[in-house]
């Protein structure tokens, strides 16, 4: 059992009893991962901040649903992933995104164009495949945890990840043509 899990076993019951300090202690180490997950899914830092806040509120409200023995991180990141899915589906967010073109905020040069192509290819992936890549590649989560977050078996995650990588390569090739 991880050190985090040891802490969780004490903090979760306290948080469920309404202890906000315990909930903050549980959530605090996960905010960075949640922000990176939302940002990688939506490619928008402001939307990512919103998603993390909304997800935190939802986690607080739904904390009673966290089953005994379930680790906080996959449970919370699952909420964040669902929020990203809902956010992408709303037309209003799409409209805002159309008005928010690709903005270079960091390095300029050859790499920028290459990464813009890659980001476009990532955005064209179906939500689930993008989520798998983000969880495993970007957040570096083990396959078992990715499986927990996405509600699949580890084998299914492994094979679907392979397909996601193949599709990403195809999309990049199409972009180069």
């Amino acid at each position: 059992m991880s050190a985090l899990a040891v802490g969780e076993s004490e903090l979760v019951p306290r948080a469920k009893a309404g202890d906000k300090e315990a909930f903050s202690a549980l959530l605090s180490p996960l905010i960075g991962s949640a922000y990176r997950l939302a940002g990688a899914m939506l490619h928008d830092r402001h939307a990512a901040e919103d998603i993390v806040q909304d997800s935190s509120i939802k986690a607080w409200r739904k904390l009673q649903q966290l089953k005994a023995g379930t680790e906080m991180r996959p449970w919370f990141l699952g909420i964040v992933a669902n929020e990203c899915r809902s956010a992408r589906r709303t037309r209003w967010w799409s409209v805002l995104k159309l008005a928010d073109p690709e903005r270079p905020e960091a390095p300029v040069g050859d790499s920028l164009a290459a990464f813009a192509d890659l980001r476009r290819a990532i955005r064209r992936l179906r939500h689930r495949r993008r989520l798998l890549l983000v969880l495993h590649w970007y957040l570096d989560l083990p396959l078992a945890e990715v499986a927990t977050i996405t509600g699949s078996s580890e084998d299914a995650v492994k094979s679907e990840l392979a397909r996601a990588v193949r599709q990403l390569r195809d999309l990049l090739l199409v972009g180069e043509e």
């Binding site: 940002g39 935190s56 809902s86 805002l96 299914a156 990403l168």
Partner: protein, 219 residues
């Protein structure tokens, strides 16, 4: 140019990092929001109670209202004899993320497990009792869609058994499937997963579709 998986992964990370600056303040911001939620009983966010997205939306809405007001004034001033547009009509309807499931015209593959199309009692969309509201399960023809395009694939129904099939469930050039037992009673659907995993050429999807659902819509 073909890159290795590790190189592609490195570039994947860099591509996202490039548009995602660190947000070290977010932890404190979230902590405050949660604390206010608990004490105030309602959502409280930084920036005067509005999130950045909502602030942007409010700004856009203000601009839209101004444009509409000016247009209405000009219209009524220039066209005295015409009817003024009904002000109660909302010119900018808010998004309605209503999802419509359309079964794909899938043709049965000979390599699928035995079974036919979704029967009338199963066809339509079902709302799970314990999962997210968006995690609807829609069934029709030989197709299913879970979570509004989150997981899509084919189904075959054989008696009280239903197989959820997808080519994403196996690394082999074939399909994988998960088998469930189903019952429909008075608008309630219960899916129970078969305890044994599929073996051999078939992969196991490992989806967690088991549970109780209530009927949302019929085709």
């Amino acid at each position: 140019m073909m890159t290795s998986d590790s190189e592609l992964r490195r570039r994947f990370v860099m591509a996202i990092d490039e548009v995602l600056p660190p947000a070290p303040w977010l932890g404190g911001q979230v902590g405050d929001a949660v604390q206010r939620e608990r004490h105030g009983g309602r959502r409280a966010l930084e920036g005067g109670g509005l999130s950045p997205r909502l602030r942007l939306a409010a700004g856009a809405a203000a601009v839209l209202i101004t444009v509409i007001a000016v247009t209405t004034l000009l219209f009524s001033a220039g066209l005295h004899n015409r009817t003024v547009p009904n002000p109660s009509r909302n010119p900018t309807p808010l998004p309605s993320p209503t999802y419509t499931f359309t079964p794909s015209p899938a043709v049965r593959s000979a390599s699928w497990p035995p079974g036919g199309t979704v029967p009338a009692e199963l066809a339509g969309c079902w709302q799970p009792k314990l999962l997210m509201p968006t995690d609807t399960l829609c069934l029709g023809g030989y197709t299913f869609d879970f979570g509004q395009d989150f997981i899509v694939g084919n189904v075959v129904v054989n008696g009280s058994e239903i197989d959820f099939i997808s080519d994403t469930c196996t690394a082999q050039a074939t399909y994988g499937y998960d088998r469930y037992h189903y019952t429909v009673t008075g608008g309630a659907l219960v899916l129970t997963k078969f305890p044994t995993s599929n073996t051999g050429a078939w992969g196991n999807c490992g989806w967690r579709l088991q549970g109780s659902y209530t009927k949302l819509s019929s085709p």
